[in-house]
Symmetry: C2
């Protein structure tokens, strides 16, 4: 297996990316890692100990976090992200991963790697944390804010295949993010999507409410990018405010401070559990190759985990399964 | 001042509604309360002690929580909600309030009370809790899930007038609910609305993120009903899950249980602070008369508070101010 890694993308690139790649290379000797980026910056990070299964693929340009995605991908052909995408398209890598500009990565998927026949729009599908630690796949949480009902229906099919193939989940429950559980709830988009989802080859359980997402009210959550991001950011902000309130309560007396020593580690672990940033890489589903998006703040551990995810997805033949489903239409 | 109260709407109608009206009548002797509903059910609740400023207006029909709004308002002319709306339209009441079916109340506002000239669509504008206890007016959080950019711009003007007139707030900050604070963030709706909001006669501070709503990142939050409801329900669910985790942490040892006795009341008060249901009645802005929606689970205290809000809004001449602003267009 060959996994191309955009060594220059993300807040902690290239050092943490390279460190994570090194750890992955040591863990999985059957996997060849192609580190794409500026050789002059990457090479010294190995301090002369580059494992045999790591190759540096030189790319002298970088797409920055503020670059306009489509323009950047079209013009920066020698950027680390576009070069990594090209390796996938040309079959020289089985997967690519990047912690760089999300919009640019989606554009790389679309324009460089290419869509699977029959897919109207690829979707970014990260795992959201749930209190039972199983997690929920949510899509689209990418850079496309608006979606059509047909897009949501395709997201549902792709998400179901992902959970079945990569997570070995039997008959994953698909829910449509909505403001109520009744069938005709919602806006024009969700009402039209509901009808399509009922007809799709999935286990559609109907509308689900954002209030119960942390309790894993479904296994695949379908939403447009705008609603999904509103939900994620509300979760983050609410958890943060409540935790701050709890901290203040703990600091209020001698006894509570004592007890705080016991309570705090439990709270910290709950907090970590709820932090979707820590849940690693999400696939860009619907493109003709494996593309994984790591969070911008990914450290070495996150990069190593992402390589592990890429391995599982390659072995499960995920892309082939999605292509086969949509070729039948 | 005369305030019409739908005595039959809400989970605890008519008993809690009547009890609240009684408390309000005793507190404000200058206010005449018109209790609209089934005399046979309402009269006995006074146990012979009906204050002089309370009048029962008989209405023998009721709109239920599951009634289809438009159909119900059109057909149930003798329902307590429609009769209360008619009192406002005919100038026999200065305001009405109801804890009944939200969609039906919005329809009553639209079809019975009528729109203010120039307003395309009325909006429900409840106060959301914020950690500083000041609160934030958010609209639309009503039954209209979809909105056009022009609607959002009108919501912003109405919401600003409400906070200025009713809350005495100087130059309230208007924010557009979005997935990022940069100007061109968001979906097609928010992008188009942004441009209109920049031109509106308001203090527009730009896009605001749902993660900071509890910290009162603006005074008037503009959103479509779908996004707003997703946000509210995510807040509710996340707060509930985190609180449950904290409770479990408190129960984990003898010392933490002891400390819990001190921490718990503080947590309960924070929880109450965050519960938007407790923040009482929200106005339906844009209709040609004062219409207040109380939460379905309103108890007597909530009803009494709503009467107090109605009094303030009547005294501030809110409806006249909105009508005057839009007649200039």
């Amino acid at each position: 297996m060959r996994v191309a890694i955009d060594a220059m993308g993300g807040d902690h690139a290239p050092s943490q990316i390279v460190k994570g790649a090194l750890a992955a290379a040591r863990e999985w000797s059957d996997t060849e890692l192609l580190l794409v980026g500026d050789t002059a910056q990457i090479e010294p990070l190995f301090e002369g100990n580059k494992p045999a299964n790591v190759t540096i693929v030189h790319a002298d340009d970088v797409i920055g976090p503020d670059d306009e995605p489509v323009k950047a991908v079209r013009r920066k052909k020698r950027s680390s992200m576009v070069v990594a995408g090209t390796l996938v398209r040309e079959g020289k890598a089985d997967a690519m991963l990047s912690a760089g500009n999300t919009g640019a990565l989606m554009t790389t998927g679309l324009l460089i790697v290419g869509r699977i026949d029959g897919i109207e729009r690829p979707a970014l599908a990260p795992m959201l944390p749930t209190m039972d630690d199983v997690g929920m796949l949510a899509l689209d949480l990418g850079a496309n804010m608006d979606a059509k009902p047909e897009h949501l229906a395709q997201y549902a099919v792709m998400g179901s295949i992902y959970r079945a193939k990569v997570h070995g989940m039997n008959n994953p429950r698909v829910g449509l993010l909505n403001v109520g559980t009744e069938a005709m709830k919602g806006n024009e988009l969700t009402k039209a999507a509901y009808t399509l989802l009922e007809q799709a080859p999935i286990n559609f359980i109907g509308n689900v409410e954002s209030r119960d997402v942390l309790l894993r009210n479904c296994d695949v959550l379908i939403c447009d990018g705008f609603a999904g991001n509103i939900m994620l950011k509300t979760m983050e902000g609410t958890a943060s405010v409540v935790m701050r309130g709890v901290r203040d309560a703990i600091m209020s007396s001698f006894l509570t401070k004592l007890a705080g020593a016991i309570i705090k580690p439990k709270l910290a672990s709950m907090r970590a559990k709820m932090d979707y940033k820590e849940h690693g890489a999400g696939p860009l589903l619907g493109v003709n190759g494996l593309v994984l998006k790591c969070h911008g703040s990914s450290n070495d551990q996150a990069v190593k985990n992402a390589v592990g995810k890429a391995r599982t997805a390659i072995q499960s033949r995920l892309v082939e399964a999605i292509a086969s489903e949509f070729s039948r239409k």
